[in-house]
Symmetry: C2
Subunit: 338 residues, 2 copies
């Protein structure tokens, strides 16, 4: 186990490196933080920390920089979450309250997060599986062609075309619409399959094919749309990455364009609180030199989606975590109100 002072040294190294972006040496450390010991002692501690793999030196006779393992220790043990100040909170709230619809909420959240953290922000649209149905609408576009519209309690709208096996009369349509809504309105998506199972039986034989088709389209929508959408922003902040960044930035931009990758990234965060994945902890190798800070948010007590930021491993973890947590909280409030 590392002594208390060595942990303090590590903390100091992380803080200084995050601030200056330059390897930090023993002398500078003792000057900027009053550790109460001399540089020589700090050097010994550094040697030990390096031995354990928490810090490394880019070249012999340069200062030390934290490794992924070092950041991990820092995040887990040495740093808390820095809460937002009262004015910041107010600003967040004001900014989000101006939103007019779900798209706008998400768009504003992305911009807000990017601005607060000065990093790349990623916000997942509220997921369908955990939300509830507000309304299902069926429109007849042609004799054997329907449009299915699904409206969720988070304000999301999904539409699907349905090609019917047989023409479907207006009366049957109205009947189906009414029955469908009385069963599923207000219910959770996960409950829908069992609730509509026996619906075709209530109809004439000639209509059953169409009813089944409509239902299976509805169920498909619930599942398929779990390839959920997300929005990203603040990519201009990537330019603050580092000096050598043509090489660093490219894979990151590529990864950010792959929605699948990002969704997996956010999905991996299982904690109820803020999750941090540092450098090589990220499965996708394009993101090996980045850290991802994410958290779930939701309209009720429960998380319906995730949001987070992607930035260099050399980031201000306490501040970023604080911002992410605060934004998630207020977005949740906004969603609950609407």
């Amino acid at each position: 186990m590392l002594s208390e002072r060595r942990l303090q040294v590590l903390r100091a190294i992380v803080q200084d490196y995050v601030g200056t972006e330059e390897p930090v040496g023993s002398k500078a450390l003792t000057e900027r933080h009053n550790l109460g010991v001399s540089p020589a002692t700090v050097r010994n501690d550094m040697a030990a920390l390096e031995e354990e793999g928490f810090i490394a030196q880019p070249h012999t006779s340069a200062g030390r920089i934290p490794t992924d393992k070092g950041y991990r220790l820092f995040v887990d043990k040495l740093a808390g979450v820095k809460p937002m100040t009262a004015p910041e909170r107010r600003a967040i709230q004001n900014f989000l309250e101006g939103a007019v619809d779900l798209d706008d909420v998400v768009a504003r959240t992305v911009r807000l997060l990017a601005q607060l953290t000065r990093q790349v922000a990623v916000v997942q649209y509220p997921s369908l599986t955990r939300s509830t149905v507000r309304h299902v609408e069926l429109l007849s576009l042609a004799p054997a062609r329907l449009m299915l519209v699904l409206i969720t309690d988070t304000g999301r709208v999904e539409q699907r075309m349905v090609d019917c096996p047989a023409p479907f009369g207006e009366a049957s349509l109205a009947d189906l619409r009414a029955r469908l809504n009385s069963r599923v309105a207000g219910r959770r998506f996960t409950d829908v399959p069992s609730l509509v199972e026996d619906l075709p039986e209530a109809f004439e034989a000639e209509d059953r094919g169409t009813v089944s088709t409509v239902l299976s389209t509805l169920l498909e929508t619930l599942v398929e749309e779990n390839e959920e959408r997300l929005m990203i922003g603040g990519t201009a902040n990537l330019t603050r990455f580092g000096h050598d960044f043509p090489l660093t930035i490219r894979p990151v931009l590529e990864a950010l364009e792959e929605q699948v990758v990002l969704l997996k990234l956010l999905g991996e965060a299982k904690d109820p609180g803020v999750t941090v994945r540092i450098g090589h902890e990220n499965a996708h190798e394009g993101l090996n030199s980045t850290s991802v800070v994410s958290v779930g948010y939701g309209s009720g007590g429960e998380a319906v989606a995730k949001l987070g930021v992607v930035g260099p491993t050399r980031m201000d973890y306490p501040g970023t975590m604080g911002a992410v947590r605060a934004v998630a909280r207020y977005v949740g409030q906004i969603l609950a109100e609407s």
Copy 2:
């Protein structure tokens, strides 16, 4: 007026510079293109071209590079649009045909354009104003709260909440729905206002307030949604920009995040054919070192939206223009079919 040979020299300079990304000198020019004259002669021509502002040298005793004005002349007079090859056309068609809905069409188009041109692709969603109404649906969510859903012929769906001044019965709702659809279905958005003008008069006095509210919401949707959405992709291609690119890339990324800027950019292109805006011709100064190649596309003969690419001024104009034009054409076809 410039002599024929001088134009050839300019063309050769543009082609070589685009290929090599390095200033091109008189000797290299005569070697790579058989102009039939000596380097010395070419030097004289270059001096003249520089005098006129078509080319410039980064430093004394370096080769020449084209200026924005040089590219402009090249695009206008010296180069055509390079048509896609047959296999390329087939590939485009196949790729786009797999799309399942409008979002998917746009997403695929973006990826396709980015891949073909190796640049940043921008695709505007088919605009509302020029498309026609397929269906208007009204749903009652609460006694005095309706949801208005608008479905366009391009498959786009917009929804709006409507708070009614008075409760609105199911019968009135069905009536309004029927009347509304019989008037506007299949009609152009621009025609809608005059078509629904007198609708409230057909209703009982107590319902007129609500009907008016619904109508004005509908009209608002048409106008307001002209803050149209768009999708971008291929930002990773920005890394191919140049050597000094931290400085170049930042404002570009910033500009790309401002939807307003991009929409204005695309909107400026008035030509029926492919439009090219080179370097400083772009109003937004973050894009002063980029060129924008754009074109309108549409489901019928008429353009309902724009798409294009953003890349360095040093780009392969004929190839890019060909790719943009071809993609626009096929997207139009796909939209017409669906």
